[in-house]
Symmetry: C2
Subunit: 483 residues, 2 copies
C-alpha cells in the first residue's frame, strides 16, 4: 500500500504589504525579483493589498517606468500573459532618489505612508537591497535615520529586510555589517538570501536523510569514507568580470552555497521542522568545521584560474583571482571524526553540475571482489551515493552486481531516481519565488542565520588570508578536473 | 573511474564424456535437457569427444529416434539452425530398455563400452534421471548392479549422477534415497538440480550482499524488520495435475526453491567462493530454521486452493492439495533473532513474479514523518529493498523523498536497477545450460548438497504432517493475495 502524500499546506500572507526594492532597475531585480513577484501574484499568493515600490537613482516618468518593468517581464516567451502583467503593474510604482540622499528617504517614507493612508491600515514593509554590497551600510543607516526600519504600528505591521550575498567580505566586514543589522533589526526581521537553500534538491537532502532509516543508519564515520561536494560551472565569468574579479570563487560560492550543502549533509536531526531548530543544527556543523591553519594550506587547499580569464572584460590583467578551489576539511565532532569533506568549485569546466558524493567504506572482509584482486582495485569498489543538485535533480547509488555468467565477477551499476519523476515536480516554484513567499510569511528556514554567516566566515577567512601562499594552477577551459 | 569487469573465465570440459539420459523421450528431456545440450554444443562448450545416449522403454529405429529428437529441437523458431542440429544428432544414440530389466542395463553397459573402445579411452559418464522420482530407487540399484556407477578407470574417467527434485517425499523417504545414493556415489559425484539456484538473479544476491558494504552493513536484526519471499504463479496446474496433485505447493517449490532463496538472503559470508564454502553457509541457515511445532501451525502457516482446481485434469475430485501456502518462520541465530521470514507461494495468482522483499526498520526518532503522523502510517514509511528474481530481474529500493513545495511532506519513490541493463545479460545461459556445464566441469556451487536437502526436509516435514489441521482457504483465480 502506498502512502497518500499529504497535500502540502501553502501559507499565504494576507496582511497588506509593501515590497520596497532598492535598485529596481538593476540586473537582479529584473531577472529574479520582479518575475518571482509577478508569478506569486498570478498564483494569488500575495496579499490582496500589496504594493511594490521601486527606488533607484534614474529618473523615469510613470509610463516609462511601467514600460521598463513590462519589458523585463517576458524574457521567457509566453511565461506570463499580458493581461496579468498589466494588472500586476498597477501595483508597482517608482520613487527616484540617490541612495545617499536624506531627502530621498524622506520622500520614500512619505510615499509608503500615503499608501498606508490610502489603505487605512499600517502595512507590513519588506525592504530588498538589490544593490552592490558596498552600498548596504549607507542604505541601512539612511533607512534607520528616516525611521523606515520601525513599524508604524507594532501590533499589526512588521518590517523585514532582505539582503543578498556576499554578506561582508571576510569575517571582519561581515561582523561590522552584522553589528549594523543587529542594531536596526531583530534576527527574525533579517532575511539573508542564499538561494541554494531554496533548491528542492537541497531541501530533499533532509527528507532523504531523516525519512529513510535505511540510509541514515549509515550516516557516520563508521560507514562513510569521505564526502565530496562539487559545484562545476561550464561558463566562465560570462560578462560579470567586474563583479567576480574582486571576489573570487571561494567568496562567490564557497562561503555560502557550498558550506550550506555541507551543513545539510552533515547536520544532526533537528528537534523539529521549525526554522530555528533546523538553523541551529546547520550552525552546529559550520561551527565544528576544522579551521585550516596557515601551515596546512598547502596540503588542504588548491586554487586555480582558467586560461583566458585575464582577458575577460572587467578582469584586472594581472589578476590572481581564483576561478577554481578545492578544500579538504573535517568536522570536529564524534560522528564525523576522520571523515574528510572536500569542497570543489570551478568555472569554465566541461559541464555544469552540482553534486554531493557520499563515499562508503569498503568493508573489511566484506567484498568478495576484495579477495580476488589487489587493494588498489578494491578502492574502486566503493559504494557511492550521489545527491544531484542540478541539473537533472536526483539521487543515484553506485553499487556492484554480478557479471552474468560463470564465476562471481562483479561490475559497477547504478540505482537511480530522478526527482522529475515526482508528479508535482513541474509546479515547483523557482528559488526566488519560494524565498520571497517565505519572507512574506516569515519562514526563515531557507535563509542563513547570523550565526551561520559568521561561522562560515570564521572557516573561510583563514583560507582567504593564506590563499596567496598557494600556486595558482592555470587550467584549460573545458577541464574535467584540475587537481 | 569505472572498474573494467574481469572477463569471466568459462571452464570447458575436455575429457571425452558420455551423457546418458534415462527417460529421453519425456517432457523434461525434450523441453530442457536436449536444447541445453545442443546450445552448449553450438557454443563449443562440450568436450570435443562427447556422446549422448538415450535410454527409454519405447522402441525406435535409429532414423525414427533422430527424427524425434530433431522435431523437439526447434520449438523456439530460429533458435538453432538445421546444420547445427544435424551435426549434434550425429552424437546422439538410443538404447531401448525397460527401467527394471537387468538385461537392458547390460546392453547399455556394452553400448557405453563400445563407445569408449571406439575412442580408445575410458570416458567420463554422466547419468541424468529424467524420470518420475518413484523410479529413482530401482534405476539406481540396477545401475549399481550393472557396474555402471563405477568408473572404468579411476585415474581418467569419472562417473556423476544428475537427479531432479523432488528428492524424496518427506524427511523419511529423502533419507532413504540419500542412503542409497550415498552407498553408490560420493557427495562430489551427486548433482541435485534445483534450477532456481542457477538463476542469475539468485546468484546476484550474493554479489549484491557481499560486494556492497553499504547494504551488507544493514544486513541483520538491528536494521531489518522482516523478509518476505514471494513466488506467485499466474498459471494453475496447467495440464500437470497428475504430477502436482500428489505433491502440492509446499513440496513443489517450498522445500527447494523458496528455502534456497531464504538461505541466500540470510547466509553469512562464505570463507571463499568455492562450492563447499558457499554450500556450507547455505546449510547453516537451513539448519537454523525454527521448526514449527504442531500447536504453532495455526498461527504460523496458512494454506489455500484456487477455486476450480478440483476440476483440473489429473486432480482428485476431493483433493485437499494446497496450491497456496504462507509460512512465517525465524532463523535461530544471533544475527536474525526476532526477524520473521515469510515464505509465500500461490498458483493462479494475478501475475507471475518471484520477489524477495527486505523490510527495514523504521528508526526511532528518525523519520521526520513519524513526528507528524500517527504510528500506523509511520509503519508504511518503511524502506524496502526488493530483489526481483523473475521476470524483469532487478533490484529496487522504496524510499521517501520530499514532496516538492512548501513544508517537509514526503512521498514514496523508487531507486531502480534492471539487470537487463548489464551489457552481457543477453548472453546469459538458461538455467539448464548452466547446470549441465557445471556438471561437466564438476562445479557443485549451484547444486543442493545432501545436507541442504536434509535440512530442508527437517523444516518442511513437521509442517506437512500438520497441514491438515489448517482450514483450506478457497481463493479465486487471479487473486492478488490470499491471507
Amino acid at each position: 500500500m502506498e502512502i497518500k502524500p499529504n497535500q502540502p499546506i501553502v501559507p499565504i500572507a494576507i496582511h497588506p504589504t509593501i515590497f520596497v526594492i532598492f535598485g529596481i532597475t538593476g540586473d537582479l531585480a529584473n531577472r529574479k525579483l520582479l518575475p518571482a513577484l509577478l508569478s506569486l501574484y498570478v498564483k494569488k499568493l500575495l496579499p490582496p493589498r500589496f504594493a511594490i515600490v521601486g527606488f533607484s537613482r534614474r529618473s523615469f516618468s510613470r509610463e516609462e517606468f511601467r514600460e521598463l518593468v513590462r519589458s523585463k517581464m517576458n524574457i521567457q516567451r509566453g511565461q506570463f500573459n499580458e493581461e496579468d502583467i498589466k494588472h500586476f503593474l498597477d501595483h508597482v510604482s517608482y520613487e527616484q532618489g540617490f541612495f545617499n540622499s536624506a531627502v530621498a528617504y524622506s520622500r520614500l517614507a512619505e510615499k509608503l505612508k500615503s499608501i498606508d493612508d490610502n489603505w487605512g491600515q499600517c502595512s507590513n514593509k519588506l525592504f530588498h537591497l538589490s544593490v552592490p554590497p558596498n552600498l548596504y551600510e549607507g542604505i541601512l543607516n539612511d533607512l534607520a535615520k528616516s525611521g523606515l526600519t520601525l513599524s508604524c504600528d507594532d501590533r499589526s505591521g512588521w518590517t523585514r529586510i532582505l539582503i543578498e550575498k556576499p554578506f561582508g567580505n571576510d569575517i571582519h566586514t561581515a561582523k561590522s555589517l552584522d553589528k549594523l543589522l543587529g542594531r536596526l533589526f531583530k534576527e527574525e526581521q533579517i532575511f539573508r538570501i542564499d538561494h541554494y537553500l531554496a533548491k528542492e534538491a537541497l531541501q530533499n537532502i533532509l527528507a532523504f536523510r531523516f525519512d529513510n532509516p535505511l540510509f541514515e543508519s549509515l550516516w557516520n564515520n563508521k560507514h562513510i569514507d569521505k564526502v565530496h561536494i562539487k559545484l562545476y560551472e561550464k561558463i566562465g565569468v560570462d560578462g560579470r568580470g567586474s563583479f567576480y574579479d574582486p571576489i573570487g570563487a571561494l567568496k562567490d560560492v564557497g562561503q555560502n552555497h557550498m558550506l550550506q550543502m555541507l551543513a545539510l549533509v552533515a547536520m544532526n536531526q533537528p528537534k523539529s521542522l521549525k526554522a530555528n531548530d533546523i538553523r541551529k543544527e546547520r550552525l552546529m556543523i559550520l561551527k565544528s568545521l576544522k579551521k585550516i591553519a596557515p601551515k596546512q594550506i598547502l596540503t588542504n587547499v588548491a586554487r586555480g584560474q582558467y586560461s583566458g580569464y585575464l582577458t575577460e572584460a572587467g578582469v584586472a590583467p594581472t589578476s590572481n583571482t581564483e576561478t577554481y578551489f578545492r578544500i579538504k576539511t573535517y568536522i570536529e565532532n564524534p560522528k564525523w571524526k576522520g571523515v574528510p569533506f572536500y569542497l570543489e568549485n570551478g568555472k569554465a569546466f566541461d559541464e555544469s553540475k552540482t553534486e554531493i558524493d557520499i563515499y562508503f567504506k569498503v568493508g573489511k572482509g566484506h567484498s568478495l571482489m576484495n579477495k580476488k584482486v589487489n587493494g588498489e582495485i578494491a578502492l574502486e569498489g566503493q559504494n557511492i551515493l550521489t545527491f544531484r543538485i542540478q541539473p537533472d535533480e536526483g539521487i543515484k547509488i553506485k553499487f556492484f552486481v554480478k557479471t552474468p555468467g560463470q564465476g562471481f565477477d562483479i561490475e559497477p551499476k547504478t540505482l537511480k531516481f530522478k526527482y522529475s519523476d515526482v508528479s508535482s515536480f513541474s509546479v515547483v516554484k523557482n528559488d526566488y519565488e519560494r524565498l520571497i513567499q517565505d519572507a512574506f510569511t516569515g519562514d526563515q528556514t531557507l535563509f542563513a542565520s547570523t550565526g551561520e554567516i559568521m561561522a562560515s566566515w570564521e572557516f573561510v577567512t583563514p583560507i582567504l588570508e593564506n590563499l596567496n601562499k598557494l600556486p595558482l594552477i592555470i587550467y584549460e577551459k573545458g577541464a574535467k578536473e584540475v587537481v
